[in-house]
């Protein structure tokens, strides 16, 4: 699972490692209920062509079932799939972060060092650029290492320090003159008065 096969690039660019089709994420029982809902919807639409009073009911049923199944599909995907990030080297000086999805069940007994949290969900981050060699089943394989950027000490200049250099509100106050501001306010006010006048005119005409 965690082999580094850099030669097979097309595999790594694949963003769905689970290999499932759109509705294959559902279990057999869920598929039966989905089919029953679809049949029910079509039956109601067919009946609505004979009994016109059923048209609104059929439309509501169709919309509710469509929205309900869309939300349920999202929930099922969230419960059964896990996001993986692969760090890959495309060329000697270009790296890639590839986001891919796999079945959560495959990682129940995997190494927890790869776990990170994203939006309160667990994701796994693999560094396929820096791999380690490991002997598995008599053959030597390249195993990706966990991405651990905080193992190296932070620099002396923090991101807040750099953000503070971009804060220039004092300079803005210093260089902005009052007269110029008044001109801008008057100009803006003039435009707003015209717009309001047009709105009032339209309302008056529509009233007539």
């Amino acid at each position: 699972m965690e082999e580094a096969t850099q030669s097979a690039k097309s595999f790594w660019y694949s963003t769905s490692k689970h290999g499932l089709k759109f509705l294959q994420v559902f279990t057999k029982k869920e598929k039966i209920i989905l089919s029953a809902t679809v049949i029910g919807t079509f039956a109601m639409l067919a009946m609505a062509s004979y009994f016109t009073s059923l048209v609104i009911l059929a439309a509501i049923f169709f919309l509710v079932s469509l929205l309900g199944w869309a939300f349920y599909w999202r929930k099922v995907c969230k419960d059964r799939l896990i996001k993986l990030y692969y760090l890959l080297k495309e060329t000697s000086d270009v790296y890639l972060w590839v986001e891919t999805w796999d079945l959560k069940s495959r990682y129940l007994y995997s190494n927890p060092d790869y776990y990170w949290s994203e939006n309160n969900e667990l994701v796994r981050v693999y560094d396929y650029i820096n791999t380690i060699k490991e002997n598995q089943d008599g053959t030597e394989k390249n195993i990706p290492i966990p991405f651990r950027p905080f193992d190296i000490e932070l620099g002396s200049v923090t991101s807040i320090d750099l953000a503070r250099t971009q804060e220039q509100s004092a300079a803005e106050r210093l260089f902005t003159s009052l007269r110029k501001n008044w001109n801008e306010v008057l100009k803006l006010g003039f435009y707003v008065v015209i717009i309001l006048g047009l709105i009032v005119g339209i309302i008056a005409l529509l009233g007539n």
Binding site: L87, K89, I152, S159, L162
Partner: protein
């Protein structure tokens, strides 16, 4: 530009950053030095991998460190970290940029605002003109154009009809009822004036 931000508490976030003057600014309290060599690509997998992948440039950062990460390197770091001296250069650059913007009147932003106001005015003006035309068209047609050349209806004086002539002169029933009513009310056939 997108940033893949790694936090010290083991969580990650993808955020949008604004690139200005060699600095990528994420928020008021977070900015990173923009190094061309630290830019990589991110292939996203929308809709749980069922959607079409997208490829966008991305910068990898550690939140708390102003130097961006170089994931291609073994220790993920570039050789030159952001120094205190470099901070002064960034501050000077930012100050000069602000000064220049104010001297130019921040024309870009104001022009954009003006353009929006003018577009709104144009839409409202057009709407006003259209409604005004449709509202005033019938009056304009009748009074100014008079396309059908219809003659105005002349007023004919109407002569008042005596009560005796109503109903073709056959008013015996009415007179009888009136006489009975008068005798009931006033004790005679004619009302006392």
């Amino acid at each position: 530009m997108k940033l893949l931000r790694f936090f010290g508490d083991n969580h990650i976030e993808i955020a949008e950053g604004e690139l200005t003057g060699g600095v990528i600014k994420v928020s008021e309290t977070e900015a990173y030095r923009a190094d061309a060599e630290s830019i990589g690509f991110y292939i996203s997998a929308p809709y749980y991998g069922f959607g079409k992948p997208k490829r966008v440039p991305i910068v990898t950062t550690r939140v708390g460190d102003s130097t961006t990460l170089y994931p291609i390197e073994e220790n993920y770091l570039c050789e030159e970290l952001v120094s205190e001296e470099e901070l002064k250069d960034f501050e000077n650059a930012s100050f000069l940029e602000t000064q220049l913007k104010i001297e130019k009147g921040d024309s870009g932003n104001k022009k954009f605002q003006e353009r929006i106001l003018l577009i709104v005015m144009g839409i409202l003006g057009t709407a006003f003109a259209v409604i005004a035309i449709f509202a005033g068209l019938p009056m304009f047609k009748d009074n100014v154009l008079n396309l059908n050349k219809e003659k105005p209806i002349e007023a004919v004086p109407i002569q008042a009809t005596p009560i005796e002539n109503i109903n073709g002169g056959n008013n015996n029933g009415i007179f009888k009822e009136q006489t009975e009513l008068n005798s009931e009310l006033y004790g005679g056939s004619n009302p006392v004036r």
